[in-house]
Symmetry: C2
Amino acid sequence: MTSLRLSNVRPWGGDPADLHIANGVLTGEPDPGAEVIDGAGRLVLPALVDAHAHVDKTTYGGPYRRHTAGSSLASLIDNERTHRESLGPVAARAGDLLDRYIAHGVLHVRSHVDVDPVIGLASIAGVQEAAASRPVSMQIVAFPQSGLITRPGTLALMADAIDAGAHLVGGIDPAGFDGDPIKHLDAIFGLAADKGVGLDIHLHDRGTLGAWQIDRIVERTNALQLQGKVTIAHCYALSTVDDARQGALIESIAAADISLTTTAPGTTPQLPLARLAQAGVRVGLGHDGVRDLWSPYGTGDLLEKVLSLAVMSGYRRDDDIDSVLRLATHGGASVIGLPDYGLTAGCAANLLLLPVSSTVEAVTERPQRQVIAHGVLL
Amino acid sequence: MTSLRLSNVRPWGGDPADLHIANGVLTGEPDPGAEVIDGAGRLVLPALVDAHAHVDKTTYGGPYRRHTAGSSLASLIDNERTHRESLGPVAARAGDLLDRYIAHGVLHVRSHVDVDPVIGLASIAGVQEAAASRPVSMQIVAFPQSGLITRPGTLALMADAIDAGAHLVGGIDPAGFDGDPIKHLDAIFGLAADKGVGLDIHLHDRGTLGAWQIDRIVERTNALQLQGKVTIAHCYALSTVDDARQGALIESIAAADISLTTTAPGTTPQLPLARLAQAGVRVGLGHDGVRDLWSPYGTGDLLEKVLSLAVMSGYRRDDDIDSVLRLATHGGASVIGLPDYGLTAGCAANLLLLPVSSTVEAVTERPQRQVIAHGVLL
């Protein structure tokens, strides 16, 4: 296999150095026969990690469509069920989006993929097909977007999805959307325990209702010894309860080693990132949908989400902005459990080269970048 | 002078049409001898309007600098006064930023420019120099960034600035920062009336304190018959008082024909845009600072601010997102009082050509664009 030397690059904005790659892995060892790429002082980051995507929903690859949904969660979900069949095959649309991801250096993705009695496992298969032919690692969450308790037959399909290669069991607002939090949580935790996989649960419910469900998720995580294998996505409750309740929730989330993902919502207060970091909670960042029936936003460049989250967190200092970039890299890698992730010897050589001098400029400028996947310059 | 035909373009995303330009002005008349540019179905927008900038403060054109300020307004202002002399000449820095603006199609700018006893009118002169050699129209607000009542000598310098060509009198948090709202407002309104110019007043003060100052600004605007000539910038109070108070404030702002500008703040609720539009209040959008001693954010592409404001306003529908794009174009033009602005015959031919099919995609994609200034393709 090829070996490569990236000369004069600045890992995570630090001092200039050479990076050595052999057989797709970073090594500490120079190889005299290696092909040399002149880094010209560019910044090197490990590949971006989208820890919360919905690549099956995108309309990339098709013509522009006007937004047709109302603003409630139920309206958004209904609108999608009405129009999704007109979008064309999942594999093609998801593939076009993944090409965008890869061009921007997003090489690791955890995507929720809809499962319900109408589409069955078709979207799961489409996403698997799109990812298989591309240099991107894909985790799939079998996601009951249209309801679980309220949509009979979905749980059995989610079990089939896991058997067909989906990696995690999903869930969605057990109380606020699906209407029976105990039945919903018992069902998805039971399935996860049965199949020996983890869970990633959408929780938009705010305030005390969301907080109460976090407690129920923590209970089940501990009871089933699923510590380290459960993620709560969005988790708006955490930023919409009072300070003391927030502190108690973070403590129990940390103790159960539950991870969180955010997609930098526009109109909900951001997660308390500093407090979560202090408690040692793993946090990842995701695109959420990209140009789909839910919203027209997104381009596939996760650095845009980093920028949004930094701005909406009120950050101006370099170390604060840098900490948000860490969510889109190391944070996401810790949420989805990537082995061998990073810039040190032994890590897989999935890298970005950016023509900027600092991690802050990577975020503020979001320049065109070169991407190295498994040691190969794309 | 040259005449130009833009064939097959889509004004504001509408049906394909040809636009005819002669002597820098849009005409309804084809000229058989005109040079033809094939629009290839691209979107045409009128030039972007940055209605609230601080181009004297930017560090563009210099090396990257770490953020050194604390988070309070006073700390940000003090930090700037400490470090600004190390930044190099205003004309060069502002010029580099204006080049970025122009490349992104921002051809009309209202910039607040610092005036105080240390720098005197030097920054005013620097911004004037930068703008004079570039195809951008520049309005300058003589801005008492470091205080007016608390910094004796500043008012006289602001009068000198108007005499030297600055277009408007500025102000800043008459209560929360300068400490004496009545003295501050009487001073700046007195100066504006004396010189026969308008005002543009920074008001970050939130809640009831800010609302009380809005009432005082409205009183003076009406008493001095300055209707149509006063802008309140930021105006955080409007989104941080209760619904009834907000309604009453909007009514009096509309009656005094006071305009507002927003810079899409990251951690303050956004202006109530729909309610302001319904009341007929003119609203513009601005970059605020771009990579300066206050914040590292911004690139000179005002469409990024449009995107941020749309996302943080919770907008998903096409007409809502379109309305935010209007703030960055027609809205800003109405705030700064541009004559002959728009896409109809008789308007100045300051235009953007964007390779997208809809105004929403102009915002979500923010593609590279071609710019026409005064009828000339740049």
